[in-house]
Subunit: 347 residues, 2 copies
DNA sequence: AGTGTGTCCCGAAACGTTTTGGTTTTGGCT
DNA sequence: AGCCAAAACCAAAACGTTTCGGGACACACT
């Protein structure tokens, strides 16, 4: 037996395929990238060799040589929020159709985590990233991490100094305004709102829409009815508690994301208020089990999957030098009326 | 200006850092991998150069040279099932602590999708994968795709011919048995069960546990009470409908995963049965909003995060040549009693 | 016979790292 | 001064691909 003992080669290479098929390395490569100019005979010999050797191409080498990985990253702030799952799936489906591969990051609303993911994806030389920035990204600047990698923002606004090639989401101001108008039309006058962190453009827009609706109805705006949470269940619960236990309790609460709506619902159940009779609850973002809650939740629905698909489209178009749809791309929201809102009790 | 027009170099390399710092390429590499033998002076010059040039290491080249990527993949069947999110987070947290990076795949219970992910990860040369195989993986054999990449299975059983280096989950038979015993102890005698696909070892085990409990209680087993679904809401709904509209309706339904429990709950609500008074419902897998449902769901909880962490541990230990804990690793389940089960009405 | 035009294949050079095996410099010791 | 080990650095060879520039051959047309 040969003396070369350390024969623990982990993967078979194109070179071994070449040897087995009696061809040169470059011919194998040509065959793999099904270029023309490789005879039928040769091609079948190569395919046979690939099969018997169980050859699996090395994308590291490939990407290195090509200076392109045919992959994009998607980083979202909370995978346990079904909205982002749908968004990721949109990205994935479009990417797959354009034969791009995706890498998923879950920052859990932490800039630290997000930075790690972005850095890791950058080092992996993804061709671009669609990003839903984490909430608490205080001093963090993605630009410093990503260099001039193409970025498109989805759902949330980019910070001012973060360059990007596109943005897609909904018209948050308009959506919040019409949702609030719905509450007003039911007769509510004392409406509490729980928004996301004020540092987020998206949250600001939704708050703006809320205020605008209130003003249009010629109602005095009570700033103490405005609470800023952190887009998670816990802060939804906390701020709903605040709103529900104060002197003059609102007759309706509008939560600007689904997690906080859940937290608010928990608070309502805990206090033992009847929803919607004593307190109406309006959420943002739909999710597949919203109908299972009692009452089933009235929400404004964003087309999560479409947002993902379009974000991927803009990104990939840009990567491939095509021009794409204009941006920001603003998709339509839809008010899904279910059972959690009704006219307020007269007192 | 220089005539070299196409100066669109996308990324700065170690070589340019070397030039800027007045050092050789190998010295930069040494400095980066903070080896010894690089003077303080040189090191600071290098760091300065890295900063001003915004150097970002190329993990493709690195992985290629090292024959190791320091990354593992985790492929789960359904990211919109919170159980798997927790599992993924467990994997991620352990991996991060061992300075491994993770790649996430979401097969949506489809072998086609899973195969794509596995293949893509293999080509990327991840060092190993933790896998929760998709349900409908009929003829598919992961072995053919992954070669001899280390695989550890989590939550679900591997198929017979799929080699693996470890497995972690819960004692499904035992868990299902004691859950069923709980229903029996409440006085239920006519219990329906909705299991996952029979092709899954996990589903089989849970069914086995159910049957065993029934038999132990000396109750005649009614096979028409056993329905096999597909671990999704839709089939949970469908089979609950079947069970609830038949001649002799069961007084309790046991669903062997959380998605099917939700589907069953939807069916119950649709029919207008009072739960738990007219029909008790018992689920598998806890989720953070289970308490928000009315009734809040009684479930057997699996330690999802721990399963992920241990799976990652076994995998990484193996990759690094360490020996690990024995496998299969079976963790403890816990019955979380809430409001969806009560003694059956006497008729 | 000469010239061209396809077809099929190949060798070698890159891509950006790390590692190996050096060479030079430094400084401490006789 | 002379010597030597250690410290600091470097050039070149990999790692597994793709691509560029050709080479060899076959065939058709002058």
């Amino acid at each position: 037996m040969k003396s070369k003992a350390k024969r623990v080669r982990r993967h078979v290479t194109i070179r071994e395929v070449a040897k087995a098929a009696g061809a040169s390395v470059s011919t194998i490569s040509a065959a793999l990238n099904n270029s023309d100019y490789v005879s039928a005979d040769m091609r079948s010999r190569i395919e046979a060799a690939i099969k018997t050797l169980k050859y699996c191409p090395n994308d590291l080498a490939r990407g290195l040589r090509l200076q392109k990985t045919h992959s994009i990253a998607i980083v979202v702030p909370d995978l346990s929020n079904n909205f982002y799952i749908e968004l990721v799936r949109g990205v994935k489906d479009y990417s797959a159709s354009a034969s791009y591969t995706i890498l998923i990051g879950d920052s859990r609303e932490s800039w630290e985590e997000e930075r790690n993911y972005l850095d890791s994806f950058h080092r992996r030389r993804v061709d671009g990233v669609v990003r839903v920035p984490a909430m608490n990204t205080t001093g963090g600047k993605a630009k410093a991490i990503l260099g001039n990698l193409p970025v498109v923002y989805a759902d949330r606004h980019p910070r001012e100094h973060d360059t990007h090639i596109g943005r897609v989401g909904v018209d948050n101001t308009q959506a919040a305004k019409s949702a609030t108008s719905y509450l007003l039309s039911l007769g509510h006058r004392d409406i509490g709102i729980i928004t996301g962190d004020a540092s987020s453009g998206t949250s600001r827009d939704r708050l703006r829409g809320f205020i605008s609706a209130i003003r249009s109805a010629k109602i005095r705006l009570d700033r103490s009815m405005i609470h800023a949470g952190h887009n998670d269940m816990e802060s939804g619960h906390f701020h709903a508690m605040q709103l529900l236990t104060r002197g003059q309790r609102p007759t309706a609460i509008f939560c600007t994301n689904n997690m906080m709506a859940l937290g608010a619902l928990a608070a309502i159940q805990e206090i033992g208020l009847a929803c919607p009779e004593e307190i109406s609850l309006l959420g943002f973002d739909d999710f597949y089990w919203a109908t299972l809650l009692r009452p089933s939740l009235t929400v404004v629905r964003q087309p999560a999957r479409e947002i993902g698909m379009i974000a991927a489209r803009i990104l990939i178009d840009h990567i491939e030098g095509r021009s794409s749809i204009p941006t920001p791309a603003l998709l339509k929201t839809q008010l899904i009326v279910r059972d959690s809102c009704c006219p307020p009790k007269k007192m």
